[in-house]
């Protein structure tokens, strides 16, 4: 199947052209080669999973995409042009949002404030207007707040809006993190093990949110996950990494039956 021009999936979602392309990325930390000459792409509108054993370099790959790590070799192409090395906050402004493996919420703030930080790139008033508050700053605040409330409703975290996140249990924190990322209305959403530490029911909830975001907002998603059930069910294509190398890339079915992947990662053929 040639997919260079995009296609429609079985359940009717539109997958578009290549949005983000990693070309021959190599990333080293001193002697450790975390990523070795890896290339893959992410298409508009798809859910792209990245899997691999612990320490394979998955999170590092996301960090390269977010501009937090700068690869020694290789190029990152985004929306058809080569991305110059840039600071993470500049990457964020290009519409790339993410969640983190070791939750990186702002512990001292309430849930609402955390989610509002996702909107920072939409807040344009300057310091003086904000100091004065009445008028522009307040209108802007309310406007963004309305959007954030939608996300909060969507993720069903209304009840904990005003709770400081440090008091939340792990699973809810993950949800808040997702909310923060979604609040940024990203074109590309990077999720690093969003379902770790959840039980089935919560995973189902999370899946629903991810699918809906993909559907309703048309967000492209790159997803790292160790739960094969989730990966196989949700993703359109899967990249498999093994200690820095790419050992597989394709649809869930292709990957599932790839012997290299089974050996390195799955252990047993997954149903």
């Amino acid at each position: 199947m040639d997919r260079s021009e995009g296609h429609i999936t079985e359940d009717g979602r539109k997958i578009g052209a290549v949005m983000m392309e990693m070309r021959n990325i190599t990333l080293k930390f001193g002697g450790v080669v975390a990523i070795k000459d890896i290339s893959f792409d992410i298409r508009q509108g798809e859910i792209r999973a990245i899997i691999g054993p612990n320490g394979a370099g998955k999170s590092s790959m996301l960090n390269v995409i977010s501009g937090f790590y700068h690869p020694q070799e290789g190029e990152v192409w985004y929306n058809g042009s080569r991305r110059a090395p840039m600071r993470p906050y500049q990457v964020a402004r290009q519409g790339i949002a993410r969640t983190f493996q070791n939750i990186a919420l702002f512990e001292g703030m309430t849930v609402l404030d955390n989610v509002m930080t996702g909107r920072l790139n939409f807040m344009k008033t300057n310091l003086f207007q904000q100091a004065f508050w009445r008028g522009k700053a307040e209108r802007e605040e309310v406007h963004n707040r309305e959007f954030v409330e939608k996300i909060i409703d969507f993720l069903e975290i209304q009840a904990i809006r005003k709770t400081p996140v440090s008091r939340l249990p792990y699973g809810l924190k993950k949800r808040v993190e997702l909310a923060r990322a979604l609040a940024a209305e990203p074109h590309l959403l990077l999720l690093d093990e969003p379902m770790a530490g959840m039980n089935v029911e919560e995973k189902e909830d999370m899946s629903r949110f991810i699918l809906n975001a993909n559907d309703e907002f048309g967000t492209t998603i790159a997803l790292i996950e160790h739960d094969m059930g989730v990966v196989m069910d949700l993703s359109d294509r899967v990249v498999v990494m093994d200690y820095g190398k790419k050992i597989g890339d394709g649809t869930p079915d292709e990957v599932r039956n790839n012997q290299a992947v089974i050996d390195a990662y799955l252990g047993v053929a997954h149903d």
Binding site: N63, F68, F100, Q101, N102, A104
Partner: protein
């Protein structure tokens, strides 16, 4: 050799010696920081307190005499004994251990797992408390401390260098002693922290109080231990500085001399304290010598900080400090 060069060399040597004295104070900071992530602002006051206690014990002063006299109308002053330096030092060391125990049990045990700034704040509270306590126990007058360390120009170096260069270098005997003692301390502490099980535990505790508890490291034990050692280091610093300038309030301000040393050497490194001390000592003395006269002098207070600041911009964790782990 031209005079200027000789002078500069003399300044440099004295800078090195001054640096050692700063490092002595900095060592105490490093120990506690290493073992708990606590930036112990009270280190300077501890040095003062230790020196005051030492003098008080040696001269047989009645502690809290003033308070007791005021409260009960008595007229107590001295016990009437006169102890030798060595016994005084031993007794003072015991007092510092008691203090370490109290500090842990009354303060830090209750602050496990709090943010560093809160712990820092607690040490400032502690500094206040000990400052008042020291004055209340031993009085606020200036005390002369003499444990038998020699002071004044070292004649041998003076004559030797005079014969060699035609200009006799000034090196203070007390500084030479300080150097020797500091070297012994540093080596002992390095061995302790590198090669003992407690050394590893120290660093573990500094990283994560809770996790350390969870593997069975007793914070109480580690902290009492470390505060005791820091108390002893403070005593040594107090003796050196107290011999130099008398035991009085300003002694507690030597902490401020140690901070740039810490920054430069790294908060967690014992050798860093020494190397940082030397760099700061030499740097500030040479700057005062060469540039000071052009800008009106008295640059030493800030120059050390600016030097350390500039250095940190290039190496944010100091020379030997542990790198900040920045990950997501």
């Amino acid at each position: 050799m031209p005079d200027q060069l000789l002078y500069a060399m003399e300044v440099l040597l004295n800078g090195l010696m001054a640096g050692v004295l700063y490092a002595l104070v900095a060592l105490g900071f490093v120990l506690i920081y290493k073992a708990s992530g606590i930036f112990n602002y009270a280190q300077g006051v501890m040095a003062l307190f230790a020196a005051m206690t030492l003098v008080g014990i040696m001269e047989g002063q009645v502690p809290f005499a003033h308070l007791i006299n005021a409260a009960f109308g008595t007229d107590l002053h001295v016990f009437g004994w006169q102890l030798s330096g060595l016994i005084g030092i031993l007794l003072t060391a015991v007092v510092m251990v008691v203090m370490a125990w109290a500090v842990n049990h009354l303060i830090f045990r209750h602050l496990v797992n709090q943010e560093p700034i809160i712990l820092f704040m607690a040490t400032i509270g502690l500094a206040y408390f000990m400052e008042g306590l020291g004055d209340l126990m031993w009085g606020a007058d200036i005390k002369k401390l003499d444990v038998g360390l020699p002071q004044g120009i070292n004649g041998w170096i003076d004559t030797t260098t005079f014969d060699a260069f035609g200009y006799g270098f000034f090196i203070d005997n007390l500084d030479i002693w300080a150097t020797v003692i500091a070297a012994i301390l540093v080596i002992a502490l390095m061995i302790f922290s590198q090669y003992s099980k407690q050394g590893r535990a120290l660093r573990a505790v500094a990283d994560d109080h809770q996790a350390a508890l969870s593997v069975g490291i007793s914070l109480n034990f580690i902290w009492v231990l470390v505060w005791s050692i820091a108390g002893f280091v403070a005593l040594v610093a107090g003796i050196m500085w107290g011999t130099k300038s008398g035991v009085q309030f300003s002694l507690s301000l030597i902490a401020l001399k140690a901070l740039p040393v810490l920054m430069l050497g790294g908060f967690t490194s014992i050798p860093g304290a020494i190397v940082g001390g030397l760099i700061i000592g030499v740097g500030e003395k040479l700057f005062e010598f060469a540039i000071g006269p052009m800008v009106g002098g008295a640059t030493e207070n800030w120059f050390a900080y600016v030097l350390a600041l500039v250095f940190l911009v290039f190496r944010p964790q100091g020379l030997f400090g542990e790198r900040l782990i920045e990950r997501v």
